[in-house]
Assembly symmetry: C2
Homo-oligomer: 456 residues x 2
């Protein structure tokens, strides 16, 4: 069934308001797709949030929870504001712990307080705990809903214990072995348990090598570890080494995507991650203007270079013809190198100490690129301004490509060394630096070859 | 234990060649880290492949297999070439089916044939099947090693069946229900089985809503589906709807990373995905030169624009001062927009039909950006060339930012419409287009305001 059909079907269920038809439909379609269809219907103003609420009330509690978790947070919040407080409390008591903490944190303060004062004590403590972590930390995506086992329990008992919590737990495929201080001692997978003998103890079969992450660390550290070590879930420890949560692989995948968003936007000098469609005009203005204006002032250097060579430009006006081409080429080669390095540094394919090795390689590559491009441009130069100009542009091209590439590849390393994000070596920044250098190189080469005195 | 320590420890194990020490060490350290350490030691020429092979021979078969799977494919291949044929066959019989297919496909032809003629028939058929799919298709990352259940078996029997294959299967947490034609009918998780009553049948408890992917589809389709629907594994069907494999979440995470690599590199006009450190100089030259040279010729338009206005430039040489600044600003704003759109189209945050809506928004944002930048540059203009020049550069700035942004945001949509990859709207391409337009806009505005006749 296509996406279009799901939307159509939801619209007709909205008209009929037939409870059993709603439940049948949701049981036979992926809820992730239904959530997407609801978002599209609201976007296109075919349904409003109140109407979605009415359909929502016809669903089974299980469908309600799963659907809610698939909706974007803004829509979850809108919907929650239209629910009765008893409905909302009921839902939040059964949602995944990490999801509900996110939801409650975005509710209006009065509603938040109403939920927290109504909900069972144990849940309230959990929510307050999970919402206390900084937004970009591991704490903000972990769930407190994980299975623990004692070292001395038997395999048989452990399986019973997992079975008992299977309905409500985030995962039962991975359990964590803790001591009396709640410190992590090892991990056991359900597969290990199934393969073991019923009377073996957990301490006999557990894996003692534990990969973990600290609660205050950045989220992408967790998602990288999950990918690297092929984990289903990653345990999260607090400062006292106590196990306080886990990050599951599905959340790790979402974190990785968001991290990439931020990275890509940063390389275009935009400091924003999130859905482009939802971003307001003033928000996007603010996220984009900083670098653009900064680069305007940065470009004064190019202008100053040109002012310095004004006399020569007046004598050889044909030189202006090649100005955009030459400075662009340096910028283009430079932004290629910068992008490659920034990404490779982010994924760990290369590390800080590889700089010298990469520089050597980059010089060779840039030399080859420069020769090719110099050849291409010398024909243009000859046609436009004769032999002298051809020589000037060819030599300039070779140098600007070399310099642009070296700047582009070195800047990310330099930022990294200064403990800044290498991704700030954006294409616009590299282009602007390469341009200023390009102007200087171009007219210096020209004044040498054309044998013109430089105005002081 | 830090990465450095692992490398040191492996070096001392290499010196001692103490089998039990090797096995103890590997049992108490993450094999993913050990694999990384081996790669670094070879890179730094502290160990050669033969020496790694000798250490490898001291490991337990289980460690050997896991470690091998964590090594990069090139090193796996090198190592394999130094093993005896019996060792190699033994290993490949126990490796994950997808991993071993990749390995065998990269071996030298004689060695490949030797392995295939020695290995058990059933394994050979499987390898030949898996290596027959195109490199970027789902077939090339799926594994043929999955658990199937019959509709009419009982929960009790199903659990027994999963237990039986638990040691060697890729995953037992997700099982697939097929009919006699091997067509997919539903899925059952181990959690479902644990929660069900022993005498219920599989058809009673299975989930009938199946998300699947076709074997010939692109890999990132599979990884997106796994992320969207929060799956542990995604079933793969052939043209006859038969279940022939699964893609697991951990492979999906790797595919997503690689897909992002390719995307990011493309936006910098580099057509390469892979480890930057391993790429040869000539390879990187070839991957980067195409667009650079193409853009050199594209820049002829900027040059032609300048040639057209040569007389005016001679009269107002101060105009050249602002040339790099103005054309860069259009390019910078344009590459911001392009990057945002390309990424949003890739993630599905926006779709083709959103173009008009996004255009309206972009015009507003660009107008605001243009005003700010025009204000910034007009001071420079006044200082450098008086009131007239200030007006020219301010008006030009406003227009180039608007035009650059619209080009930057529309190009990805246009490429998408033409069934090309929107990511080809790279920063260098957008910059070059914005530059050519910028030159025309600049001198046209100048000739209007400065009231100069244009040379024809």
């Amino acid at each position: 069934m296509t996406f279009y059909n799901i939307s159509q079907e939801l619209m007709s269920l909205h008209i009929s308001q037939n409870q059993s038809a709603v439940q049948r439909f949701l049981a036979s379609h992926p809820l992730a797709d239904c959530a997407e269809a609801f978002v599209a219907l609201i976007d296109d103003q075919q349904l409003n949030v109140l109407e979605v609420r009415d359909l929502f009330r016809l669903m089974t509690p299980e469908s309600q929870i799963t659907l809610l978790e698939y909706l974007p947070l803004t829509l979850q919040t809108n919907l929650a504001e239209y629910l009765d407080i008893t409905e909302l409390v009921q839902l939040t008591q059964n949602m995944a712990h990490d999801e509900r903490a996110d939801l409650i944190a975005t509710l209006s303060i009065p509603l938040q307080q109403q939920v927290l004062s109504t909900i069972e004590h144990e849940h309230r403590v959990d929510i307050e705990q999970l919402t206390s972590y900084p937004q970009s930390s591991v704490g903000a995506i972990m769930t407190s809903d994980f299975a623990t086992l004692a070292m001395n329990s038997t395999v048989e008992d452990a399986i019973k214990q997992l079975k008992h919590i299977a309905r409500d737990s985030e995962t039962i495929y991975q359990a964590y072995v803790v001591d009396v201080q709640e410190c992590l001692q090892g991990t056991v997978s359900l597969r290990d348990l199934i393969l073991a003998k019923p009377l073996q103890t957990i301490s006999e079969i557990m894996t003692r090598v534990c990969i973990f992450v600290r609660v205050e660390e950045a989220q992408h550290i967790a998602s990288q570890a999950i990918r690297k070590y092929d984990l289903l879930a990653l345990p999260v420890l607090d400062i006292n080494n106590r196990l306080i949560g886990i990050v599951t692989y599905d959340d790790a995948m979402d974190v990785a995507e968001e991290h990439v968003d931020r990275h890509i936007h940063k390389t275009a000098a935009v400091n924003y991650s999130g859905n482009l469609k939802d971003a307001s005009i003033t928000l996007m203005y603010r996220k984009r203007v900083f670098w653009l204006v900064l680069l305007v002032f940065g470009n004064i250097f190019s202008g100053a270079g040109i002012a310095h060579f004004e006399d020569m430009i007046e004598s050889y006006i044909a030189l202006v013809f090649f100005l955009p081409l030459l400075i662009d080429s340096g910028g283009n080669a430079g932004s290629q190198s910068a992008t490659l390095m920034v990404r490779a540094l982010a994924t760990g394919d290369i590390i800080a100490k590889d700089w010298a090795k990469m520089l050597g390689k980059e010089l060779m590559i840039a030399a080859l690129l420069g020769i090719t491009m110099a050849l291409a441009v010398s024909f243009l130069g000859f046609w436009r301004g004769g032999y002298d100009i051809a020589l000037v542009v060819a030599v300039t091209m070779q140098i600007v490509v070399l310099v642009g590439s070296v700047v582009g590849m070195s800047l990310p390393f330099l930022l990294n060394k200064m403990k800044l994000d290498p991704a700030s070596a954006s294409a616009p920044l590299v282009t602007s630096i390469a341009d200023a250098l390009g102007v200087l190189i171009y007219f210096s080469v020209a004044s040498l070859i054309l044998d013109m005195p430089v105005s002081i």
